[in-house]
């Protein structure tokens, strides 16, 4: 069963561009990325789109469909009615290279700013001893496919470009939480999470959790626990006192 769907696709280079109208065939079982490919094959051979796996695992095909960040390859056409006009735009938070392809280097920059796993100097490889429960929490965060839709939807930078230098976005605050919760990581993550990576900018409104295609509970399991750890470190007088006394007596 096929029908003709109405599409509006953002076309342009750099920031300049506009929404272009298309009418295009849709067949049963197809996803939005299939339709974009059909446009390339039939009406717009120079339409730029980034994709790789078509299986929701590479995180390349992030785009905004009817205003919501989605993976093009995982958004079924059957979720729309046949008379609906479907609008497809590139991610709003990052600069655009061409059409649906964003320049996501903000994310790589932020990734580099998080110091990698830092085990204690006296533990040699092969000497790590951990139980499953010790690493379970961080394993949830390892499901991330780096589609960067969470960073894209986060209003801290989506609506406020000027916050970009001070805010690493949910993806990398989650990475910091992952390392901070690691039983063998000794780097100071709490102070830097707040002071350098901008954890305090997050107002826990959970849009990152809403868009994550891997259904990672970013806010509940990474950002809020990390905020609580920062409170221990910076804002809770009782914990501060307890640490003092404990250190003195030990």
């Amino acid at each position: 069963m096929s029908y003709k769907a109405k599409f509006k696709v953002w076309r342009g280079e750099g920031g300049e561009g506009r929404l272009e109208d298309f009418t295009v065939e849709v067949n049963e079982g197809e996803v939005v990325l299939d339709i974009i490919h059909r446009l390339q094959a039939t009406q717009a051979p120079d339409l730029a789109v980034r994709w790789n796996c078509k299986a929701g695992k590479c995180g390349s095909c992030s785009m905004e469909i009817n205003g919501k960040p989605r993976l093009g390859c995982m958004t079924r056409m059957s979720t729309f009615s046949e008379d609906e006009t479907i609008t497809v735009t590139p991610m709003r938070t990052f600069p655009v290279i061409k059409d649906l392809v964003n320049d996501v280097s903000y994310n790589y920059q932020k990734a580099r700013e998080v110091p990698s796993f830092t085990p204690p100097a006296d533990v040699r490889p092969g000497e790590f001893r951990m139980k499953q429960v010790d690493v379970e929490r961080s394993q949830e965060f390892r499901k991330c496919i780096e589609c960067f839709m969470c960073n894209n939807i986060c209003h801290v930078i989506r609506d406020h470009e000027e916050n970009k230098p001070n805010f690493s976005g949910p993806r990398f605050l989650m990475r910091i939480a992952e390392l901070d919760m690691h039983p063998y990581d000794v780097a100071d993550r709490q102070e830097t999470a707040q002071e350098e990576h901008g954890l305090g900018y997050c107002n826990i409104t959970k849009c990152c959790t809403e868009v994550c295609p891997e259904h990672i509970k970013i806010t509940d399991n990474a950002l809020i626990p990390m905020k609580e750890r920062v409170v221990d470190r910076k804002y809770d007088p009782l914990v501060w006192l307890g640490n003092k006394i404990f250190k003195r007596s030990s």
Partner: protein, 272 residues
Amino acid sequence: MGPREVERSAMTQTTPEAPARRQRAQVKVRTLRTDRWWLVPLVTFLGLSSFLVYGVWAIIDTSNFVEPYIAPFAAPCLTTQEVCEGARLFGWAPVGDWYALPPGLLILGLPGGFRLTCYYYRKSYYRSFWLSPAACAVQEPHGKYTGETRFPLIIQNIHRYFFYFAVVIGAILTYDAVLAVVHKPLGLGSWILVLNAVLILGYTFGCHSCRHITAGRLNHFSRHPLRYRAWTFVSKLNAKHQPLAWASMFSVMGADLYVRLVAKGIIAFPYA
């Protein structure tokens, strides 16, 4: 460098040579969403507002006790005022005659502060009252945004202290409910108070600060099996924190209103 880091730096080495791109796609509308994204913030706004309005009324209203029920908004009464004769805890009235304002004012700051600084309520009022953001991918109306990095919102970080008080208040409400059941096991009000106490406890112990205190702050769960078990339980409640926040908010309003209506004689039947 782990393999992931190596991979990343190899990937990013190309960016310095690439031309700097600063332009986002120019889309001139606030959102391209086509669903009814405004519905949830609207309903949230109305729900939270009704709670505030009811709270103000409950503070002023004086029918807060009818044997054996104590209205949750009035418990415990800390003053010597006659209006809360029955609502005292073990007849205890630490606040003397000089206090003439409504007694509810003394106590409501604690559960009020607990909810005001709760991570879930923060989300709900940042979205519905401050529109920051009203819904995901809907541009917020504010020119500047600093989140919880500075005064006054940085104060949200004291949430755990409200949690400590909330445990005490949860215990008092439970005690009041148990007393009601003991004195009037067939009273509808007794069981309304019990239901309310259960929901309040569920909400209180699902708190993110509670989750952090039980074991969230630890990195080696396996060395603390008991705390880990407590954390697992709290995590389960925590996953239901939003529904419990609403359920306990309506149950506390409902239970409070019920007791007051019985006290006023508006609800009057043998098993009321």
